[in-house]
Amino acid sequence: MSANMYSTERMVVEVAATILCFIIFRFMVKPYKLTREGTYLGLPLGFAFLGISYGLAALAYSPLGFDPKLLWLPQLTRTFAFVFLATTYLFSNRKSKSSKLLGETSISLLVIALAISFLLAFVAPQFAFEGYSQANVYLRIFNVICLAYIAIYTLRSHLKNLDPTTIWIPFGFIFIAIGQYSLLFWYIDSSFSAFVGSLVATFVGLAIFLFVGYRTFYGSDKKRG
């Protein structure tokens, strides 16, 4: 694989994805503001870190670039973003106080783990860079697993009530998972179709989240009465 292939196209898409993520973040923070439950903090944190990861990737592929030793930072941030989202779904439907506490503790530990990972990246970038190629593949596989879990969770939630408004979000997560899966193939065999597919799928996935947020908060109130 060549990290420099299609770098301009990729940079443009990563910048657009960063902007989309930070708009979506504004919608995702609302459930936490209402409930004040730490578990729901995973949603805004997830989209904020996803935005940061796209921003870092855009910087990495820009003419400015940054130290290749730090190239794995966007990938690590993205994985943490998906873990934040998966943690929110994992603990969201648990009503006991101990489960809620466990959910909040998990979110806190993830924040600490992310901070430590970043510190390690700057203290020993050579160490991180040596394992980058392998870690990149494993992290992408892990991302697909996290996203598949969320997609199945939201799809099951939709099937329980069969409300047409709840079908979009599972597809949003499925498209982002396809994006990660295609990037994995692009990374392995530099396939152009996998590369284009990953960009399109990621963009469609994020657009679905934007559509759902916009439709809920700025759409017509007629349905709510």
Partner: protein, 84 residues
């Protein structure tokens, strides 16, 4: 937060059904002890969400809060996060 949204929603449905509020109905709807319900009503008045503690009519600010509350619950439902 959530309890205020639930309480405002219960008050609005009481007004819609019988044009006056029966507090025991509201208490059953939101499932809290009566003394706590009274303290929440006092807090709603302090927040300017209801006109007074006897009529319990929602102010424009209260209606606005309730609309935002329902939008967030709707968003959580769409996200597949059913909040109880």
């Amino acid at each position: 937060m959530k309890i205020y949204g639930d309480l405002l929603s219960a008050l609005r449905s009481e007004f819609n059904e019988r044009e006056r509020v029966v507090l025991t109905h509201v208490q059953v709807q939101i499932n809290v002890p009566f003394d706590r319900l009274k303290s929440y009503i006092t807090e709603l008045k302090e927040l300017d969400f209801i006109e007074d503690e006897t009529s319990l009519k929602l102010t424009e600010k209260g209606k606005q809060y309730l609309r935002e509350y329902e939008k967030i619950l709707d968003f959580m439902k769409r996200m597949g996060l059913a909040y109880q």
